[in-house]
């Protein structure tokens, strides 16, 4: 088994490590770490952070790519191996034991029967699915739920041991008002995880898609695509916005003129059109070089990277504008004059003095734009300029399932799974962004709600 990381894998894992390093370095900065603690302490912010951590965890596992025996798989694939390999022939409803459409079957004595075929894997442990299925399902839900509760209790016990509070009962975090929402979210996730595990072991929990792949597996795999888009695009946009924005505001003169011209021009073009134009152009370029790619996966990966590049190169303008305005304000404040008087170079002033003081803006804007990027993926994929069709992504799932709504009975599970997966990630990101803004924006400080009434 050999590690075989693609470019986006490296980018995503590298960013995760960078973020961890950032939080590690915060131990020295009292104020900033206190602000992050405020984010985690608010019920919505803390719950959203837990949910985001789950998503990031799945995406991280899905980025650890290995090759063995000519096959490429990720750590997540390894964990969900049965889901990956248990492929039916075509559509099947969630938790079904029978196929979606009637099939003709030729029996031994030349008889022809036409009915719903048994699924190869879904509910295959059942002798008589029509009778036993509902009992089996209830039992599994109960068993999985109990397992989840047990896991949650184990977590609480672990918490008690590590926190060394011998006299408190082990459910203390549940009773403490301050962390109740966060603890409840963890409990819910534990129970949900148990139930999903118990059901997905022998059923297709969310059904199967057109070629018979498990929809739950596809939904989990899509998380990585969404996160890569959000994270890598921000990673490309950030250095541009920060460097150009701060230097334009501080240096002024022709630098300011040039930067202003650049971002006014870029932001004058309606977003989707600019992205479409750039993506089309890159797409054409890649089609000509199609033979240069070692495999389909690496080609899809390059296409994803190109999309990130396009989104990043078109998405830096709003942050740049904010940073320029902030730097304009800061350059007249005493600490900058002091730094200059002490003989600080331009670079030192820009990156040692101005950057830390505008960093709250960077954090707030980046977190806010993340959810937009995830949502944009589905739309761009719909117009054919998004991710490669061979790559698992929510946009591709929605695109594939959209036309199946016209079928009778309706094939709704693929669509719902993709929309719910996306909704969870974007909601968590939005709530987290709100909490971050409340904690970091010095202007806000909750004065809005304190108005007299």
């Amino acid at each position: 088994m050999k590690l075989a990381l693609l470019t986006t894998d490296v980018a995503l894992l590298g960013t995760l490590i960078l973020v961890l390093l950032y939080f590690w370095s915060l131990r020295q900065h009292k104020l900033t770490s206190q602000r992050w603690r405020t984010v985690l302490k608010t019920p919505t912010g803390g719950s959203a952070a837990i949910l985001l951590a789950m998503y990031v965890g799945v995406a991280g596992l899905d980025s650890l790519r290995f090759t063995a025996g000519g096959e490429t798989f990720t750590a997540l694939d390894k964990m969900l191996w049965s889901l990956r390999t248990q492929v039916e022939t075509t559509y099947s409803a969630p938790l079904a034991a029978f196929g979606y459409a009637k099939e003709t079957r030729y029996e031994a004595h030349g008889k022809v029967a036409r009915d719903y075929p048994r699924l190869v894997y879904g509910g295959r442990h059942l002798r008589n699915p029509a009778q036993d299925r509902s009992r089996d399902l209830i039992l599994r839900v109960a068993r999985g739920g109990l397992l989840g509760v047990a896991g949650f209790c184990a977590l609480l016990g672990l918490f008690k041991i590590t926190r060394r509070c011998p006299h408190a009962p082990f459910w203390m975090p549940l009773a403490a008002r301050r962390w109740r929402a966060q603890v409840m979210v963890i409990a819910a996730l534990c129970v949900l995880g148990g139930v999903i595990g118990a059901l997905a072991a022998d059923y297709h929990l969310l059904g199967t898609d057109k070629v018979g792949s498990d929809v739950l597996y596809l939904t989990l795999k899509s998380i990585r695509t969404g996160l890569v888009l959000g994270v890598v695009s921000s990673l490309i946009a950030l250095p541009l916005a920060v460097t150009l924005g701060i230097s334009a505001g501080y240096l002024g003169g022709w630098v300011d003129d040039l930067v202003q011209y650049l971002y006014t021009t870029l932001s004058s073009i309606p977003g989707v059109l600019l992205i479409a134009a750039a993506a089309l152009s890159l797409d054409l370029l890649m089609q000509q070089q199609a033979s240069d790619f070692a495999s389909l996966a690496s080609r899809a990966d390059t296409k994803l990277l190109a999309l990130c590049l396009v989104l990043g190169l078109t998405g830096w303008t709003s942050l740049c504008r904010l940073l320029r305005a902030e730097a304009l304000k800061l350059r007249t404040i005493e600490f900058v004059s002091a730094a200059r008087a002490l003989g600080g170079t331009q670079l030192q002033i820009l990156f040692r003095h101005l950057l830390p003081n505008t960093f709250h803006l960077v954090i707030i804007t980046t977190v806010l734009s993340f959810s937009d990027l995830v949502l944009a993926e589905a739309v761009l994929t719909y117009i054919d300029i998004g991710v490669d069709p061979s790559m698992e992504s929510w946009g591709n799932m929605i695109n594939g399932a959209r036309l199946e709504l016209a079928r009778e009975p309706v094939v709704w599970w693929s669509l719902m799974a993709a929309l719910c997966g996306m909704f969870g990630l974007v909601l968590a990101a939005n709530l987290f962004a709100d909490a971050v803004r409340d904690a970091f924006d010095p202007r806000l400080n909750n004065t809005l709600l304190a108005a007299p009434r």
Binding site: Y261, I269, L273, A277, I383, L449
Partner: protein
């Protein structure tokens, strides 16, 4: 005022030129024209001869920026940049790669886009403002908290969901409207109802939240405190003071979007098969018709810049403190 407008127009020129250079670079420099011809001709093994023929037929067989072989001004005018990009400044859009007159198509398709975009704008404005005001009235209450949370949730739903759910529920199950399509004149109403509804619903979350922030920011200002101190009632304060002042940022935010109404909503139009500019663009992207995409990028940018100018004017018109100085 006139001097100010002239200055703004002059400022717009270098920006539009930059946009032209950008799209020109994207389509002609990053990709060679041979690539484009090969893609349009569709086959894998296209002869060089066929490529040259296609380029000649579409007028693409010119040098990019500078023709050293020509005489006089032809050096500059007989180039791709002059023909394809500078022509846009006079709104001569030329022909699409499919051979149709782009300017004619744009004029035809403008109206269906407007027919969707205008009702959406008005409905959205009315709904979002009244809901936002209601939330501001009940600020800090449970209603406020849950509605704000609901807004965040609504913002987190993909716009595709609203479209698909609307088509499925209203058109397919309840059979109230056709699933998609378009008709001329007043018959268009039944085709337009659903797209308008869907788009209003999709934008409501973000708009109500934004309006709430604007209203709350206004409420925390000094003059509102004074109004309360004078002994005015809540109703008087909200309607006469807060709403009137908050409408300024709200209205001016809308003026920016006015010109882009012509562009229509890309996704909605495409899903509902409305023959507007949005679906025109999407078709062009899917057919990789670069001439149309280039024209739309230019048109969209023009309208955006126009919107910004309108915003400045409306600021000066609505807020007596703002003066548009010529210097």
């Amino acid at each position: 005022m006139t001097a100010y407008l002239c200055r703004r127009m002059l400022y717009a020129l270098p920006i539009l030129l930059g946009i032209n250079l950008l799209t020109f670079g994207l389509f002609f420099v990053v990709n060679s024209l041979d690539n484009m011809a090969r893609m349009q001709l569709g086959e894998r093994h296209v002869t060089q001869e066929a490529i040259e023929k296609w380029k000649h037929a579409h007028g693409y067989d010119l040098p990019l920026l500078w023709d050293a072989t020509a005489a006089g001004t032809d050096k500059f005018t007989r180039t791709l940049f002059y023909r394809n990009s500078l022509g846009l400044f006079t709104f001569r859009f030329g022909r699409s790669d499919g051979g149709r007159d782009i300017g004619y198509d744009l004029r035809q398709r403008m109206f269906p886009s407007l027919a969707i975009a205008l009702p959406v704008l008005l409905l959205e404005l009315a709904l979002a403002t009244s809901l936002g005001l209601m939330v501001a009235l009940l600020r800090g209450s449970y209603f406020d908290r849950w509605l704000t949370l609901g807004c965040v949730a609504a913002m987190s739903i993909s716009s595709l969901f609203f479209i698909i759910a609307g088509q499925y529920l209203i058109a397919k199950l309840l059979r109230l409207t056709p699933i998609s399509g378009y008709d001329d004149g007043f018959a268009a109403f039944k085709f337009l109802a659903l797209p308008v509804l869907v788009q209003v619903a999709a934008g409501l979350g973000a708009n109500v939240r934004w309006n709430r922030t604007v209203f709350l920011e206004e409420i925390s200002k000094d003059y509102v405190r004074t109004a309360w101190a004078k002994g005015l009632t809540e109703k008087q304060v909200l309607w006469r003071h807060v709403l009137r002042n908050a409408l300024l940022p709200l209205l001016t935010a809308i003026v920016v979007t006015l010109p882009s109404l012509f562009l229509g909503s890309l996704i909605t139009e495409s899903f509902f098969a409305v023959p507007g500019l949005g679906s025109y663009t999407i078709d062009a992207i899917q057919n990789q018709d670069f001439a149309i995409v280039r024209a739309m990028v230019f048109l969209g940018s023009c309208l955006y810049i126009l919107g910004l100018m309108l915003t400045d004017i409306s600021y000066a018109w609505a807020d007596p403190r703002v003066r548009l100085a010529a210097s």
